[in-house]
């Protein structure tokens, strides 16, 4: 006797089913399910669809509010913008990376000691290097490599003098408490999904760190060693494999001045700057190498971070990069889920952050600042995200909780000022190019002029180049005040458009980096200095007010949903969709609804 436990209800439903439903009807419903639910319909859903009372319009409206719908639209813009950075961009500022050396402890057992390469120390034998010496350990510590030599027990006295024990953030959720006790345990897998330190980072309840790295001060004073500078070929000081850091021009000029420990300048020039409370300003690496393993991270997240695929150990630089990319995805999803004005993608100052991003914005963005710009007096970077706007409830381990940041600050402008965008598209021209391409559906295609040798420095005039650069250069100028391959803001108060000190033959180092001697102004600004002062928000305004903006959105969305390029025959339809989009307040829901209920969507992809 056959048991039709699940099939009989379906047959019963079929009895009251709409007999007139045809194959195209089912194909249409399947297409809707794929695009709006992110998966084909189930048998139960198909059975419901066949019922006579099924309201397809209501079904569409319901599914234009879900996460699958938002993810479908997000995919369109992620495909256009490709907001993820690959291995060619390694984010390993020495100020952030706590590397780990293995030595022999006083008891003869292996002992890990964490340190920052480049950490300033008063002791010339260890300044800028690991805090324990050959004399302490019997080992040499070549840069970014495992130690060499025969280890011997580190004397307890040396260990106590040069290192301290810390309860770090990656082991204790309450690391800021006077006595942290909320230590990582089994339940953390559910509490903080995706937070999986690798390489034995979780083995010890306390970690041993070089004393200088464990310092918690927010500011230090500029340190000058007074050592004579070591030139190439000079003998190295005893016990060192690398020369100690020379006193920079900035250090000599600013000796004793206060400097922020959150900036790269503070790290490079003060012996009082460490990794902060619970080492919260640093990322742990399970080894001494350049990009040491840090976390188990998914290689790909095709269906979202909640459903990870394989997660092998990755270099520590992948940790912030993963969350930069997730920030952009979440930002796009939020615009679509809340059916906000799509122009917000470029103009909004809001975002969402989770624990790792809050930690990054609060403690780490300054690590790439300020290089030679410190010589111009810029040692405390002006943030792209105001740390005061970040939610305080998030701990660095909290990967799953995303909280809104209503206003990132005056320089923020949609995705244009997110770290993922600014590092994925490192040059100012690349940033402008991809924005124009994705949001105005225009590209820069060179004309057929034969390039001839030219000394014309102005690309808007140089024959052959001018075709594209007449348009591109003024757009690139909007990014003048954001450093290339970085997010460091170059404020007008410190970096005026032209700088008298940067004229002439012998100029400070920062002039060469930031100012274009040919045009006597900040680099990339020459084609439109006024754009430089408007910043990325100016570009956002130019893009969203361009007549091509709305038709381009329509084109991108319609092409993706139809699975084909729009043809000239589609122009009247495109025009009507553009009107629907604009009249609907630039919201996606009316646009997508108009597309998926149109005959073109319903019939256009039937096989010929």
């Amino acid at each position: 006797m056959v048991r039709w436990v699940r099939v009989l209800p379906l047959l019963a439903i079929a009895a009251s089913a709409r007999a007139e439903l045809t194959l195209p009807d089912f194909r249409y419903f399947r297409a809707l399910s794929i695009d709006l639910q992110g998966r084909p319909p189930t048998r139960d859903e198909l059975a419901a669809f066949e019922q006579s009372g099924f309201d397809l319009d209501a079904w569409i409206d319901t599914h234009l509010t879900g996460t699958a719908y938002a993810e479908r639209l997000e995919r369109i813009y992620m495909d256009l913008l490709r907001l993820d950075v690959g291995p060619s961009f390694q984010f390993v500022p020495p100020a952030l990376i706590l590397r780990r050396q293995q030595v022999m402890g006083p008891d003869g057992m292996p002992l890990y000691v964490y340190f920052r390469r480049g950490q300033r120390r008063v002791d010339p034998a260890t300044d800028g290097d690991f805090c324990l010496t050959f004399d302490d350990t019997g080992l040499d510590f070549p840069p970014n490599a495992a130690p060499t030599g025969t280890p011997r027990p580190v004397p307890q006295k040396a260990l106590d003098a040069k290192t301290v024990l810390v309860r770090p953030w990656w082991l204790y959720a309450d690391y800021r408490a006077p006595v942290p006790a909320d230590r990582i345990g089994r339940e953390w897998a559910k509490r903080f999904p995706g937070f999986q330190p690798s390489g034995g980072l979780l083995e010890d309840a306390l970690v041993r760190v070089c004393r200088e790295e464990a310092q918690t001060a927010d500011t230090g004073t500029v340190y000058v060693s007074g050592r004579p500078p070591i030139k190439k070929g000079d003998p190295l000081p005893a016990g060192r494999l690398t020369p100690p850091p020379n006193d920079s021009g900035f250090a000599r000029a600013a000796r004793g001045r206060a400097v922020s420990c959150l900036s790269g300048t503070g790290f490079q020039n003060s012996v009082q700057c460490g990794c902060g409370i619970g080492l919260e300003r640093c990322l742990p690496g399970a080894g001494p190498q350049f990009d040491p393993p840090g976390f188990m991270l998914p290689t790909q997240l095709p269906i979202g971070s909640a459903q990870p695929f394989d997660a092998p150990p990755k270099g520590i630089s992948e940790w912030p990069k993963l969350w930069w990319s997730e920030e952009a995805r979440r930002f796009l999803d939020r615009v679509f889920l809340d059916d906000r004005d799509f122009r917000d993608v470029l103009t909004s100052r809001a975002t969402e952050v989770n624990g790792p991003l809050a930690q990054f914005y609060r403690f780490m963005t300054g690590a790439t600042c300020c290089g030679p710009a410190a010589d111009a007096g810029y040692s405390e970077p002006e943030p792209l995200v105001d740390p005061g706007a970040l939610p305080t409830a998030l701990v660095p381990e909290d990967t799953a909780t995303w909280l809104p940041v209503p206003d990132r600050g005056p320089h923020a402008s949609g995705i244009l000022t997110m770290p993922i965008f600014l590092t994925k598209y490192g040059s100012r021209r690349a940033r402008a190019h991809v924005a124009v391409n994705a949001f105005l559906c225009k590209d820069f295609v060179a004309d057929t002029v034969r390039l001839a040798p030219s000394t014309e420095p102005d690309l808007t005039k140089r024959p052959g180049c001018s075709t594209c650069h007449q348009t591109l250069e003024p757009l690139a100028a909007y990014f003048t005040r954001i450093a290339e391959s970085d997010w460091t803001w170059l404020p007008a108060a410190t970096f005026p458009m032209t700088q008298a000190r940067c004229k002439g033959e012998k100029v400070p180092g920062y002039c060469k980096q930031l100012y274009d001697p040919v045009f006597d102004m900040l680099r990339s600004a020459y084609a439109a200095p006024s754009h430089a002062e408007q910043g990325p928000a100016g570009l956002a305004h130019e893009l969203v007010t361009a007549p091509e903006f709305a038709p381009c959105v329509v084109q991108n969305v319609a092409q993706s949903l139809l699975g084909r390029a729009l043809e000239p025959e589609d122009d009247p339809w495109k025009t009507s969709l553009t009107k629907i989009f604009v009249d609907g307040g630039y919201r996606m829901r009316p646009l997508v609804r108009a597309i998926v209920t149109s005959p073109k969507y319903r019939m256009g992809n039937d096989a010929r």
Partner: protein
């Protein structure tokens, strides 16, 4: 003799042509164009069309995980791996046509042989595992993930049709009654062939193996991979 006749015939033709020319030339006026009579009228659909779209790999993966019983990706891998049905997701993901934003590799809009082979391999892993779970383990109907019917040994065509309809609807998204007329016969033949060639338990029975094959064929069907 024959040559003389030919010469004579040629002279007669020439004489005829000259006589006609002497009578004066008459012109033949072209007739007025007249539309051809309509045999039947066809309405042309001039809207732009393309072949059906490829199922986005994200959708395929989500559907696949659902067909596997709503498991997480890592759980699918762990469940299918031990019997050599599956290697690791990383071996398959890029072949499915997913974009790689890190490397600026775009989404693939068309299938290729590697992709089809990957889809086939994934389908096989799903269907064999589902046959083990649903049919071989005699899982209660309410808990079955794919084969939501009770199988009968060596089913008749009618027995096969009703059960095949469940799989058909699951994977292709419409009931069997709307499918091409020869579909049931083709899949019934496949079922028979596979069952006949798998007489030994391996560990699935011949009928279970045949259902797994039917399932695999449906997962790999162009209608399952396009929309």
């Amino acid at each position: 003799m024959r040559a003389r006749r030919l010469v004579l015939a040629g002279r007669l033709v020439l004489a005829g042509v000259l006589a006609l020319a002497a009578c004066g030339a008459s012109t033949v006026a072209p007739s007025r164009p007249v539309p051809l009579p309509a045999a039947h009228q066809v309405v042309l659909d001039t809207t732009p069309k393309e072949r059906r779209r490829m199922l986005p790999p994200e959708v395929y993966l989500r559907a696949y995980l659902g067909w596997f019983g709503g498991l997480a990706p890592i759980d699918v891998q762990n469940r299918a791996r031990p019997k050599g049905l599956f290697d690791a997701w990383d071996d398959y993901l890029s072949a499915l046509g997913l974009p790689d934003y890190k490397l600026d590799l775009p989404r693939q809009g068309q299938t290729n042989t590697l992709m089809l082979a990957t889809l086939g391999r994934l389908g096989e892993a799903l269907c064999v595992r589902a046959a083990e779970h649903d049919l071989h383990a005699r899982t209660p109907l309410a808990q079955r993930v794919v084969f939501a019917f009770d199988p009968v040994p060596a089913p008749s065509l009618d027995d096969f049709r009703t059960r095949f309809d469940v799989l058909h609807t699951t994977f292709l998204g419409y009931p069997l009654r709307l499918a091409p007329a020869d579909r049931v016969a083709k899949f019934y033949a496949l079922y028979g062939d596979v069952a006949a060639r798998h007489r030994a338990k391996n560990p699935l029975s011949p009928d279970e193996t045949a259902w797994a094959a039917v399932c695999t064929a449906l997962v790999q069907h162009p209608e399952a991979e396009l929309y």
